[in-house]
């Protein structure tokens, strides 16, 4: 009986002092809301990066040159395919930036010079037109395959295949359109990318025509690890130093991103957690004041037969109810804030975990900060309290 009754009594005294109760809750509300909102930003970033990485293609290994003398030539790529077992496809990648222009519209895009196998390597699908042929690569044809967002945004309903687009004042012909890989709008990533033959990209770049990245698709997951090991050995033989190239599999990147994100989420969570602790101190402060202020009430309750434990329970439950109510309001506000953030800026994701943790933490903070004031109230001598 004591618990339900104490809750009833606590609830009444909270309602009896609405303004003070809300002010007390404010600390917890802000704390929980900021935990939810900040962690949702971190989680949103993580989910987005993961999605993008997954869209890069499975079993892909990226090799970056480290040092000016490390050059990847078409001949080297050919010999790598011979020397290393388990390579399904291999292609050079050149990253370029800048606008492409169609009629009077320009589009800020990511441009990649790639080999003819890029559709297979990246697990892409054509929505229309064709990919690159052997001829396109060897003859440096100025042709282009565009991502789904490019197709939507730049061509605005006109079928891009066959259209002429200007890039670096060179005329390119769109030969293919890709299907969307990721749903939703993206600031960057695979569906905003424009692909051109790497040979054409080399010509655009003029003298700096070196290839510094290779994408390799392994036969499968198991082969992928073996390929990475063998590649390391081959490049060591060629350059006689271990760090001539940086070899990274998509799994490595995912792992790194996850780690980075964990650190970020923990940091944001810690910052928000501090504000929750401050909120708890607020509860403690107000509860202490409230105990002093309600000395008479405590005296009356004791005079009519309240036991110390019943007084303790009442004040403790009051603190927990305050923090629980603050927690619920905070969760709602934080989720709302996360929606607003998503609307204007970075992606966010409110996870059940962050809700559960912040609510549990709020309750804990409430209980801990209620202990001292409640004990103070319980220990009060009835004669002192009634004076």
């Amino acid at each position: 009986m004591t618990l339900i009754l104490s809750m009833k009594l606590a609830w009444r005294s909270i309602l009896g002092n609405k303004v003070r109760s809300i002010l007390t809750m404010l600390g917890v509300i802000i704390g929980v809301a900021s935990v939810i909102a900040l962690v949702s930003v971190g989680q949103g970033a993580r989910l987005e990066i993961q999605q993008h990485l997954q869209s890069l293609g499975s079993n892909v290994i990226e090799v970056y040159s480290q040092g000016w003398e490390v050059r990847f030539t078409p001949e080297l790529l050919g010999s790598l395919k011979e020397r290393v077992d388990g390579i399904k496809h291999i292609m050079p990648v050149l990253n370029l930036g800048g606008n492409i222009k169609w009629r009077n519209t320009t589009f800020d895009s990511q441009i990649q010079g790639v080999g003819e196998d890029f559709i297979a390597i990246r697990d892409l699908k054509l929505a229309g037109g064709r990919g690159f042929t052997e001829d396109d690569i060897s003859e440096r044809h100025r042709v282009m395959v565009v991502g789904s967002i490019v197709a939507d945004k730049l061509f605005q309903g006109v079928n891009p295949v066959g259209q002429e687009v200007y890039y670096h004042n060179q005329r390119f012909t769109v030969v293919g359109v890709l299907k969307a890989k990721i749903s939703g709008n993206q600031e960057w990533g695979i569906d905003r990318t424009v692909y051109i033959p790497y040979t054409a990209a080399q010509r655009l770049l003029g003298s700096s025509n070196r290839i510094d990245t290779i994408n390799i698709k392994a036969e499968g997951i198991q082969e992928s690890a073996q390929v990475a090991v063998q590649l390391k050995r081959v490049f060591y033989k060629i350059y006689r130093r271990p760090d001539a190239v940086h070899i990274m599999s998509r799994d490595d990147i995912l792992k790194q991103v996850a780690e980075m994100n964990l650190v970020m989420t923990l940091m944001l969570g810690a910052i928000a957690g501090i504000s929750l602790v401050v909120g708890g101190i607020g509860i403690m402060n107000i509860m202490l004041v409230s105990v002093t202020e309600r000395t008479r009430e405590i005296g009356i309750r004791k005079a009519v037969g309240a036991k110390n434990s019943q007084i303790l329970g009442q004040f403790l439950i009051e603190a927990v109810i305050l923090s629980a109510a603050g927690g619920i309001i905070g969760i709602l506000l934080g989720s709302g804030a996360s929606l607003v953030i998503r609307h204007f800026g970075p992606p966010t994701a409110v996870t059940p975990t962050s809700i559960a943790y912040s609510f549990a933490f709020a309750l804990l903070v409430g209980a801990i900060s209620g202990v001292w004031p409640a004990a103070k109230a319980a220990k009060m001598q009835p004669t002192d309290a009634l004076r």
Binding site: G16, I300, K307
Partner: protein, 253 residues
């Protein structure tokens, strides 16, 4: 003498004031039988409030023994004292001591709540106690919506709803006009007639004359313990007829 309700034996009580101990009671001996109505009188500082706190189990004596209805209370734990206050003692204070945020009914329910009574029987008992005190149309009023006399009657209802063996009143009429005060004393005399032991702490001789017996304290000892002479005894109902009636039963604006 019938069953002994209050048996105080050589009770002393010292208070710590900074570094020195100040004696408030210096050896009180007092026996009150069940069903008596006794006034405890004395000037301020005589120790009458201290004695009342001990009689009501709000405090423990420094030395000596106190038996309430044959039960030794000097060495009880806090929790046991709370239990005794809850079941055996009803307090009535000068300043009513009702909880402002609760209604009259809820205030009366309070001791029954701490006793662990179910909601239904709690409500019934509280209601009938309030009806008995003529407050049937004030059940859901808050203390600040009631006159002083009504508030004190709520306080009495709270005390009697718990069906105590002993009712302790500390200057119960001190904050009331004379008519309301007289009405409260009429209630006490009624309780007394029902066989409840009533102890009234007061400095007002006219209040004391409503009791059968007057115990006088000074400097922490009993200096006199006399029965009220029949010619001095006041019956509240009779006194009320001599007082001018207030409009609408004396309800404060």
């Amino acid at each position: 003498m019938g069953v002994v309700m209050v048996d105080v034996n050589a009770v002393t009580k010292d208070y710590r004031m900074g570094k020195i101990m100040v004696p408030a009671l210096r050896g009180i001996n007092l026996t009150i039988a069940s069903g008596e109505m006794v006034a405890i009188m004395g000037p301020s500082g005589s120790g009458k409030s201290t004695l009342m706190n001990i009689l009501g189990c709000l405090d423990r004596p420094t030395a000596g023994t106190y038996k309430l209805h044959k039960e030794e209370v000097s060495e009880k734990s806090d929790s046991q004292l709370a239990e005794i206050r809850n079941r055996k003692v009803g307090f009535i204070f000068q300043s009513f001591n009702l909880l402002e945020q609760l209604t009259a009914l809820e205030n009366v329910e309070l001791p029954l709540i701490y006793r662990g009574l179910g909601a239904g029987s709690r409500r019934d008992r509280a209601k009938s106690a309030l009806v008995r005190l003529g407050l049937e149309d004030r059940l859901h009023h808050r203390p600040q919506e009631l006159s002083g006399g009504q508030q004190q009657r709520v306080a009495i209802a709270r005390a009697v709803a718990a069906q105590p063996e002993l009712v302790l009143a500390d200057e119960p009429t001190g904050a009331l006009d004379s008519r309301s005060g007289e009405e409260i004393l009429a209630v006490f005399q009624e309780l007394h007639a029902q066989g409840i032991t009533v102890i009234v702490v007061t400095h007002d001789p006219n209040v004391a004359r409503h009791c059968q017996r007057i115990v006088r304290l000074a400097d922490g000892v009993v200096i006199a313990d006399d029965l009220v002479r029949p010619e001095d005894y006041l019956v509240a109902q009779e006194v009320l007829t001599t007082l001018p009636a207030l409009p609408e039963g004396g309800v404060k604006a």
